[in-house]
């Protein structure tokens, strides 16, 4: 077994243990959430004009899917289902598997999160290099201030601001949804354009929210590298500034890759606020809906998916670092 494979196996084993722990904890936490979904459904039906008896019978039928037995028995059933990759049935969409609901929502979170994060990463690191090199000039100051400002503003505030500007004050972007239903789904310009149009605000929010962190981290990293001896040696050898830039950027960017992978995982948590504000139907919105309806199976599945995303991102970050940093490959390690 190669060192890389050993490392991967170790990570996977640790990841599985972590998923097991988190799944167990979330199972019991979710079921300790107070609130009676049957009562809420009953009230809604009565408010809609259904007679009390009919509403009572309807919720009994609907929640016939509800887990029964002791909490321990439910846990055993849940875990054995999980071992068979069966996450159970949604309570609020009878007959539909949790995995179906999750995967149909996940794509609307993964794509914008990826796009927004990569966009902020690319712009942030480029601007970070400039901010470091021009740190004594006005451009450096402006870039640094823009980074500090955006880094300090919470994601949901940015989302609210962007929403207010682009959907209310200057309404050029849609207020919710994934695409205009009037376009036939498929590989056609209208539909793809509509997808991009609807994703613009969430992506822009992720991008702006991440940009501040990247520019500040990259600037700091570049400034550190600029002080390294190998840069001085390179300058003394008379290398051109362009080459120095490449050396500096390559070395400075290494620690940021780890943060990039981690931030991708963490952004799934942030999606809850963004998707709520933009009515963008991804995992975050689905999670809110499942909590409101006390759909335990769906809540459990969503938490599991988010946990798995963070753990996989951790493993990917570590492995990626192994690939890109020769010192890690050779066993020197990096702090």
């Amino acid at each position: 077994m190669t060192a890389f494979a050993r490392r991967l196996a170790g990570h996977l084993a640790r990841g599985l243990v972590m998923i097991l722990i988190v799944t167990t904890v979330s199972f019991f936490v979710i079921r300790s959430v107070p609130g009676d979904p049957m009562a809420a459904r009953y009230e809604k039906m009565v408010e809609q004009g259904m007679s009390p008896e009919a509403a009572q019978r309807a919720v009994e039928v609907l929640f016939g899917f509800a887990p029964t037995g002791s909490l321990w028995q439910q846990y055993v059933d849940y875990m054995s289902g999980l071992a068979r990759l069966d996450l159970g049935q949604s309570l609020t969409v009878p007959g539909v598997g949790v995995s179906t609901v999750l995967f149909s929502a996940a794509k609307w979170t993964i794509l914008p999160v990826l796009a927004g994060t990569l966009l902020s990463f690319l712009i942030g690191i480029v601007m970070g290099v400039y901010a470091a090199i021009k740190r004594s000039g006005k451009l450096g100051d402006i870039l640094a201030i823009s980074g500090s400002l955006l880094h300090g503003v919470p994601q949901y505030v940015l989302a609210l601001l962007l929403g207010a500007v682009f959907t209310t004050l200057w309404p050029i972007l849609p207020q919710g949804g994934t695409a205009d239903i009037m376009f036939e789904p498929g590989f056609n310009a209208g539909y793809i354009g509509s997808l991009v149009e609807h994703a613009t605000l969430p992506v822009l929010t992720y991008a702006l929210a991440g940009y501040g962190g990247w520019i500040l981290a990259m600037k700091s990293s570049v400034v550190t590298v600029l002080g390294d001896d190998f840069i001085l040696a390179a300058e003394l050898r008379g290398l051109k500034r362009g080459f120095i830039f490449r050396y500096v950027a390559r070395n400075a960017i290494l620690p940021l890759f780890t943060i990039l992978a981690l931030s991708l995982g963490m952004l799934f948590g942030g999606a809850i606020f963004i998707e709520r504000i933009f009515n963008y139907p991804g995992l975050g919105l689905m999670l809110i809906d499942s909590i409101t309806n006390r759909d335990y199976a769906l809540m459990g599945g969503a938490f599991l998916l988010i946990t798995a995303a963070i753990i996989v991102a951790n493993i990917a970050a570590d492995l990626f670092y192994t690939v890109i940093d020769p010192r890690v490959r050779s066993g020197e390690g990096v702090a």
């Binding site: 979904p37 007679s51 008896e53 019978r57 609901v101 609307w108 789904p185 919105l285």
Partner: protein, 605 residues
């Protein structure tokens, strides 16, 4: 760097293209052929769309939109006092036996499913079988349940007769029948076994065979609930073409019996997860119609200023009450409840909490003021109005033994009295209303506060567990008088109908959180309001009137709740593209826009 610049440029180009996407290549979606336009709305019943939901009217998240692609036998007018008034649906006309023992339905003669097959009496009978698995009021398998249909007879291809089990009749039997959804047998046939009606017959008996039959029918309920037809086959004015997580598109069903008068060719349903989104759609003028949404005054101004927007108002059979837990002191004392009622200025509370969607309750009877006038007539004026009167409040508090020390009311033993109202946080009008009430009470010397609860499911659980002293509670859920009074004298207050008999549970047991006494004194006579309420289910119209009068008086004297405001059905329409919307006070405001459209009212401009 060059590659990076290219990527950025491409992304920018894509965004620009997308931003001008409204002029892109939108496909003509199915059935539109007459330029009838696109009608955009939000479904009041299912504001949150679910792309995974089946096209199944019994599924709570199903993509069967009432009045559009999901059809009932008929559509209730929700008349103030008569639950047996309807607009036609699958049935064109009907005859109700004078004693409510049967109803004969005559189906629309020319109606067809969207796939071209005719809508028949067999479809109706099959759909009723499906309804039995869900146990709707009119079609319950439990032999003891109120108002069960005993027989369903196909008279001919377009006529069905449904008889009521007169051993245990219900005045809401007809309404229960008419509220049934009708689905195509040729699509749903696999869901029920061929011997369903034999099973049902067996289930109505007694013994082990009946038990087994009931269990089999109950098991079928899950199957029915989860059934997902691959394609929408509708007998309504529209059929579902496609949907995504944010929107659904329905196209005209050319086979619908009244298709020639259906205005729009297409209907777009928008998803919404909160009131703010509906406000924004309305401000942007994007909705041809929208259901009632709690709207603050400033937002209402902005909505009204959008060209084409108009507000239509009508009766909504719902009121809001400040409900007491009478198992807790000092709320077990009627004088405390009355004293509090005299300290609350309902006009002010309504103005603060629900200026657009409510009117102050004229008094507190458990009935919305509009049907109250119909049910009670002149008696309404004789009831105590509980107008703001601090002197009377003081008198009542003193009768209850409360003491006033240093300008503050204390309990009879001199200990401090903390008046706490609990409300769920997401209900912004309730929170505002509760704050207005506590401000008024605090000014009058009652140490009052508002506590909010994270969400409605939690609120309902905690209120049912008797954790709150005082909470907000929806009452007057008409139009059937039993439905109105079960909110005050039903399960929440200890009364339940089991096997056709009324039983009372002690406070804190079986969901009895209101904790009122089993009998109360009204005009010097003892009455059991729970038994009276149960009688409303089977009483004749005249008897109902008498009982409603007694219950209104009981509620007015005993105050299990202080009725704060009566909701107003406030809806929004936009006349830029369509006209012919229902006017103020129309019965149709209590039905989805799909029903207006199928009746031929809404026309393209």
């Amino acid at each position: 760097m060059k590659r990076l610049a290219a990527v950025v440029a491409l992304l920018g180009l894509a965004t620009v293209t997308a931003c001008s996407g409204n002029t892109g290549d939108k496909s003509a979606a199915g059935g539109g052929d007459g330029g009838g336009g696109l009608y955009t709305t939000i479904d009041a019943i299912k504001p949150s769309l679910d792309v995974n939901g089946p096209i199944n009217p019994w599924s709570p998240k199903g993509n069967a939109f009432w009045g559009y692609n999901a059809m009932r036998i008929a559509w209730s007018k929700n008349h103030l006092t008569d639950p047996n008034q309807f607009y036609p649906g699958i049935a064109a006309s009907w005859e109700i036996a004078p004693d409510n023992s049967s109803i004969t339905l005559h189906l629309q003669p020319n109606n067809k499913w969207s796939d071209g097959k005719p809508v028949t009496a067999e479809d109706v009978k099959f759909s009723i079988a499906l309804a039995y698995t869900q146990g709707s009021t009119a079609f319950a398998i439990d032999p003891g349940a109120a108002g069960a249909a005993s027989e369903v007879e196909v008279v001919d291809d377009k006529t069905v007769k449904i008889s009521q089990d007169m051993k245990n009749p219900s005045v809401t039997f007809v309404r229960g029948v008419m509220d049934s959804f009708i689905v195509p047998q040729h699509v749903w046939s696999s869901v029920l076994p061929a011997d369903f009606w034999d099973k049902l017959k067996a289930a109505r008996g007694e013994g082990a065979d009946a038990e087994n039959a009931r269990a089999e029918i109950t098991a079928l309920s899950e199957k029915v609930l989860a059934f997902a037809p691959p394609k929408d086959v509708s007998a309504g004015p529209f059929a579902l073409e496609r949907m995504n997580p944010g929107e659904a598109l329905l196209v005209k069903n050319k086979n619908f019996y009244n298709a020639a008068n259906v205005g729009p060719d297409q209907v777009k349903m928008l998803n919404s997860t909160g009131n703010e989104q509906i406000w924004n759609y309305l401000i942007a003028g994007k909705l041809d119609s929208a259901p009632f949404t709690a709207v603050p005054a400033d937002v209402m101004k902005r909505i009204s200023s959008t060209p084409g927007n108009a507000v239509v108002k009508g009766f909504s059979p719902v009121s809001l009450g400040l409900a007491f837990n009478q198992a807790k002191k000092p709320y077990d004392n009627v004088h405390v409840r009355r004293g509090l009622a005299y300290l609350i200025n309902r006009e002010e509370v309504t103005t603060i909490a629900s200026p657009e969607g409510g009117t102050p309750a004229v008094t507190t009877t458990g009935i919305h003021q509009k049907p109250a006038a119909e049910w009670l007539g002149a008696e309404l004026g004789e009831l105590e109005p509980y107008k703001l009167d601090p002197a009377k409040a003081e008198e009542e508090f003193k009768k209850a033994g409360l003491k006033k020390e240093g300008g503050k009311w204390t309990l009879p033993d001199g200990t401090p009295w903390k008046f706490t109202i609990n409300v769920p946080t997401p209900f912004s009008d309730w929170v505002s209303g509760a704050k207005a009430v506590t401000s008024q009470l605090t000014a009058a010397g009652v140490d009052a506060e508002v506590l909010t609860v994270a969400d409605y499911p939690l609120y309902l659980k905690e209120i049912a567990e008797g954790k709150y002293d005082v909470g907000f509670w929806l009452v007057a859920l008409g139009p059937a008088p039993y439905n109105i009074y079960q909110r005050l004298y039903g399960a929440s207050n200890g009364w339940a109908i089991l096997g056709g008999k009324v039983k009372h549970s002690a406070p804190g047991k079986n969901g009895n959180w209101m904790g009122g006494p089993e009998t109360i004194e009204v005009d010097g006579a003892k009455v059991n309001p729970g038994e009276l309420t149960a009688k409303l289910n089977s009483a004749s119209e005249d008897e109902q009137k008498t009982i409603v009068g007694q219950l209104a008086k009981a509620a007015n004297q005993d105050l299990p709740v202080v009725q704060l405001w009566d909701y107003v059905n406030t809806q929004f329409v936009n006349t830029n593209h369509f006209t012919g919307f229902p006017e103020n006070d129309s019965d149709l405001l209590r039905q989805p826009a799909g029903v207006w459209i199928q009746l031929g009212m809404v026309k393209k401009k």
